[in-house]
């Protein structure tokens, strides 16, 4: 309902070699009001988009428009506002489905974030395992069964599976990481075995930036009859992701990293699997009939959306998807690649700087973590902030990755549609100052 015609084209006339339009960063930046503000008297250099992205005017306006003109609850009202809100909410679901190439909107479950989407699937296994006689055997875990993840995961793709294994007696296994920050698949047939029931792994690492090829993992998992979940939190925002091409059974991602608001995430699942899954949270909007003795449930996706959902947030996520689609996800991916390539050249000009993860831009998403000799990441981040340069420091909710590389913390810069090479130059300049303070 809120289609916004851009005042200027967001892609420049220039085209890269393969015909993908190049983003016009200056025009894109003008769409983001936050770039009008200053940090400690300097222009904002936002290099923390892997943490959360900034929001364009159209997304902020979508939230406001919903509350000002269409606010009502969804799926239960006969009145005009309720109908408008429901149409917009379900319209957003359809936009998400089209964006990731889902078979239809019913394969899209709205959740709070990626974390909740992953937990939803983990709990499906846990709940099915509690009532094995009446549950789909693909979701039933018993002692001796295996759950496979990787050392590269965000905590949100580790802890739910640890909890599941504790509850069911299943065994947690994982792929390690090679020295250059890739998944070590050299023993894939020993890690994924006929005992494996589910494999869950990250598409693009939030800390190393590594872009994992899902193909060999999905193939091996399906060969042994296991289900596959992919954490797309960092990939869906920055590259075209098509669930048919991925070949997985579940995909989780979150709205706030792709220009949308916080509080809205997505679980995509094959409809046949969602159908076979028991509910996650119980409550209103997910029931067919309730008696005091027994309740029957609605089919997916409603079955997994108990209670009033984040309506405005879902609608605004739809607007964010419209915006990204207009930029063209191929152009977004090419821009991330260009920024990554530029940073791979620029950052090592700082004395004592070491980049973690794959050395080539082709194997990476737009996220780059690094160490600066003798300076703790907290100190790096604090001093960069004085230059208006916002980076993330710490373990990035991926402590096992830090442990793998023998550090307690890393400094991470991450790029998005509004990142320019000038931002990366400012980062380099700030890092040189950090060196001076600690020399």
């Amino acid at each position: 309902m809120d289609t916004i015609t851009p005042s200027a084209p967001r892609v420049s006339g220039e085209r890269s070699m393969n015909g993908v339009p190049a983003l016009d960063v200056a025009t894109v930046r003008a769409d983001f009001p936050i770039f009008e503000r200053q940090i400690h008297g300097r222009p904002l250099v936002y290099l923390d988009s892997a943490n959360t992205s900034q929001k364009p005017h159209v997304v902020i306006d979508a939230l406001r428009t919903h509350y000002e003109l269409h606010n009502a609850n969804v799926a239960r009202s006969v009145h005009t506002l309720g109908t408008e809100a429901t149409l917009a909410y379900e319209g957003a679901r359809a936009k998400v489905a089209a964006f990731i190439g889902a078979a239809g909107p019913d394969e899209v479950v709205f959740a709070k974030n990626s974390t909740e989407a992953i937990n939803l699937v983990a709990y499906a296994f846990g709940n099915a395992s509690a009532t094995p006689a009446t549950s789909d055997p693909r979701f039933v875990l018993r002692p001796g069964d295996e759950v496979v993840i990787s050392e590269m995961e965000h905590h949100s793709n580790i802890v739910p599976w640890q909890l599941l294994c504790e509850r069911t007696g299943a065994t947690l296994k994982w792929f390690g990481i090679t020295d250059d920050g890739r998944l070590d698949l050299s023993r894939i047939d020993e890690v994924i075995t006929p005992r494996t029931k589910v494999v869950s792994f990250v598409h693009v690492s939030n800390i190393l930036g590594t872009m994992n090829d899902p193909t060999p993992i999905v193939r091996r998992a399906h060969d042994v009859g296991a289900l596959v979940m992919i954490d797309g939190s960092q990939s869906v925002p920055q590259m075209p992701v098509d669930v048919t091409e991925l070949g997985a059974d579940f995909l989780a991602f979150t709205g706030h990293k792709m220009l949308g608001p916080t509080g809205i995430g997505v679980l995509w699942g094959r409809s046949e699997l969602l159908d076979a899954m028991p509910p996650f949270l119980g409550g209103g909007s997910m029931i067919e009939t309730v008696t005091m003795a027994k309740t029957t449930y609605l089919p997916p996706p409603a079955r997994f959306e108990a209670g009033t959902p984040p309506i405005a947030e879902a609608i605004a996520l739809g607007t964010a998807i419209d915006y990204l689609s207009r930029l063209d996800m191929h152009a977004v991916a090419a821009h991330e690649r260009a920024m990554t390539r530029y940073a791979l050249d620029a950052l090592p000009t700082v004395t004592g700087l070491r980049i973690y993860g794959p050395p080539d831009a082709e194997s990476r998403g737009g996220t780059m973590s690094f160490a600066l000799d003798g300076v703790h990441p907290h100190d790096v981040g604090q001093i960069l902030d004085e230059f208006g340069v916002e980076v993330r420091v710490g373990h990035h909710c991926a402590r096992p990755v830090c442990a793998r590389f023998g550090v307690a913390a890393m400094t991470r810069s991450s790029f998005y549609v509004y990142t320019s090479t000038a931002d990366i130059d400012e980062l380099v300049h700030g890092l040189e100052h950090v060196r001076k303070v600690f020399s």
């Binding site: 703790h376 604090q382 402590r399 307690a408």
Partner: protein, 157 residues
């Protein structure tokens, strides 16, 4: 620039050349504290000689603020009475938490007053307090072990 308020020369000196660093034996109590948000870690050992801190030794990994705070802790409590050490601990904690009205007691806190600027950086308060909280824990354990045995040499607490 503003960060001069946080990264005082005194703090950077303590970070680069920490006082009393390295875990020593014997000791009566030990504590290991972690800041879960950043992964910083500190180990503190306390040896008691009657009512006096006979030795406080420390080791850890972390940012300049947390590591310099451990160095200053050593200067401020080593050789003091337990009572005196706790008074300084409270004064340092109040200063860093911004509860001292911005008027730190220089006579009491010596180099420690360089940490007054930390109060303006809420995300860094934990860094400055990490070794001090570990010290308090180690001291309690030292006092408890002092009631029922001799100081430890080797092994772990």
């Amino acid at each position: 620039m503003q960060f001069d308020a946080l990264y005082q020369e005194i703090i950077l000196d303590h970070y680069k050349r920490p006082h009393g660093r390295g875990l020593r034996e014997p000791y009566d109590g030990e504590a290991h504290h972690v800041n879960p948000t950043c992964g910083d870690e500190v180990d503190i050992r306390v040896r008691l000689e009657n009512d006096t801190i006979g030795d406080v030794s420390h080791d850890g990994v972390g940012c300049s603020i947390s590591q310099a705070a451990a160095s200053v802790l050593y200067d401020l409590v080593n050789g003091r009475t337990v009572k005196d050490a706790l008074v300084r601990t409270d004064a340092f904690t109040d200063m860093v938490a911004g509860r001292d009205g911005g008027e730190p007691d220089e006579e009491l806190l010596e180099d420690g007053v360089a940490f007054a600027g930390v109060a303006k950086y809420p995300s860094r308060v934990k860094c400055a307090l990490l070794p001090w909280m570990a010290f308090k824990d180690a001291l309690v354990r030292a006092q408890a072990s002092g009631d029922n045995g001799a100081a430890k040499v080797g092994g772990s607490a």
